[in-house]
Symmetry: none
Subunit: 207 residues, 2 copies
DNA sequence: TGACAATACACACAAATGTGTGGTATATCT
DNA sequence: AGATATACCACACATTTGTGTGTATTGTCA
C-alpha cells in the first residue's frame, strides 16, 4: 500500500553524447578527482569550453549533476556512487542460489550503515563492556552514532555522564523524566545527570 | 602474545599542526572534493599560501600525501581511499571531542565489514529468528557471509540443511565430527547432514 | 655559536579554470 | 515557415589556484 514508488526514480532520457559526458564524470569522480571543464572537453573531443558547459547545463537540468559556481572541479553526482552488496536471501528462507541471476536486490553498502547522513554528523565508538549485551551489542562492536542533542524514549544513545564518561545506554522516560538503562540485569539504571551526545544508528561487528 | 604487529604500520611522526592539516584534507576528500591550497589555509588560519605549501611538502615527504603539479585540488592520500568513519573514542573512555582535529584515527568503512575480500565472494543474508541471540545476532540483522566450502571449529557459518533450508549456526566439532549449534538454549544442536556455504564475517544492524 | 627544523608571512607571477556572449548547422515537430 | 532541441565552435575576460622567492621568529641540538 505504501512504498510503491520507493526507489522508483524516473530516469531522464539522455542522448548518447550526454550519457558519455556523464559517464566520464562518473569515472573521474570514481578515480578521485572530478574533471575540469576543459578536461571533459579534451576527453570527449570538444574544442570549446562552451560546448562542455552546454552539456553540464542539461545534466544539471535533468537533475543528474550538481555544481558550485566559480569552484574548480566542483562537479558532484546526484546519484550515489558507492558499491553494493547483493542480497541473496534470508536466513532460513530456503536454499539461496549464489548465482548472480538469482540476486534479489542490492543493499547499498554505504547506505546500509550510514544512511544518507553527512560526514560531520557521524562518528564511531568501539564498544567496551557488556552493559548492552541483551540488546545484542557486544564488546568490540563498532557503534556508529549520529550526533544529536536529544533522542526519543527507547532510543539507544551515547550519553555523557557527570563523571566525564561516555556510555551507551537505552534512553527511558518515566513520568516525564529521562534516565538511562543498560540492557543487562547486572547494571542498575542511571538516574544522575547526563547529556545525550547522539543516537545509535548502526552496529557493526567483525568476525 | 600474538598479533603485536597486526595493523602496526610505522606511522611517521607528525606534529599536531601537521596532523590537523592532514585531517582536514582527509575530511574534504571524504566529503567529495579535495581542498585547494587556499582553502586549507583558510580553515587552519594561515594567511599565506606559502605556509600551506610548506605543510604539504612535509606531508609529501613523509609519504602521506601525493600531488600533481599545476592541477587544482590534485591532492591524494597515500592511504587507502574509500570513505572513512572517524573513530573518536571508545565507549566509556571519556568525553569525545567531536572536532575533526581530535580524530584519533579512521575505520575504513569498506574494510570494516568486507575486509579486503573480493566482491564475488561475499553476499548478505537478512537474519530471521532468534537462534543466535546469545551471540548478539538478532532478527533483522544483516549477516555478511564469505563463501567457503568449509570452516573451522567455533566459526559461525551459513549452512545448507537437508531440508533445503539455510541457517546461521556455530560450527562445532566433537570427536572429529562436525555439528551445528544455535546460540540459544531453546534450540537443539543439529547433527544431521549439512553443507557449509560460507562463514560469517560481519554483522550489521541498523536502528 | 651555528645549523637546522618547525612555524609563519608577504607578494608577484603564471597557469589553470570558470564565465559570458555570440555564432553556425542540422534535424524534428507543428 | 517558425519554434525548438541538439550539437558544436570562437574567444575575451574574470577568478581561482598553484608556484616561486624572500623574510622572520622560535626552539632544539651539537
Amino acid at each position: 500500500m505504501c512504498g510503491i514508488s520507493v526507489g522508483m526514480e524516473m530516469k531522464p532520457y539522455l542522448t548518447p553524447k550526454q550519457e558519455k559526458v556523464l559517464n566520464f564524470i562518473r569515472k573521474r569522480i570514481g578515480e578521485r578527482l572530478p574533471p575540469t571543464i576543459r578536461e571533459i572537453g579534451e576527453e570527449l573531443g570538444f574544442k570549446s569550453t562552451g560546448t562542455v558547459r552546454d552539456y553540464l547545463k542539461v545534466l544539471i537540468q535533468k537533475g543528474l549533476v550538481k555544481r558550485m559556481n566559480n569552484k574548480s572541479r566542483a562537479i558532484e553526482l546526484t546519484e550515489r556512487a558507492s558499491f553494493k552488496i547483493p542480497i541473496i536471501g534470508t536466513i532460513t528462507a530456503g536454499k539461496p542460489n549464489l548465482a548472480y541471476e538469482e540476486i534479489q536486490g542490492y543493499v547499498d553498502a554505504d547506505d546500509l550503515f550510514l544512511g544518507r547522513l553527512g560526514f560531520d554528523d557521524v562518528f564511531a565508538l568501539r564498544v567496551k563492556g557488556d552493559s548492552m549485551i541483551d540488546a545484542g551489542i557486544l564488546e568490540g562492536d563498532v557503534a556508529v552514532i549520529k550526533k544529536r542533542p536529544n533522542a526519543d524514549n527507547n532510543d539507544i544513545v551515547a550519553a555523557l555522564l557527570d563523571n566525564n564518561e561516555v556510555t551507551l545506554k537505552r534512553l527511558r522516560s518515566r513520568s516525564g523524566k529521562f534516565h538511562l538503562e543498560a540492557a543487562n540485569p547486572n547494571y542498575a539504571p542511571i538516574f544522575e545527570e547526563f547529556k545525550v551526545i547522539g543516537k545509535l544508528i548502526t552496529v557493526i561487528r567483525k568476525y
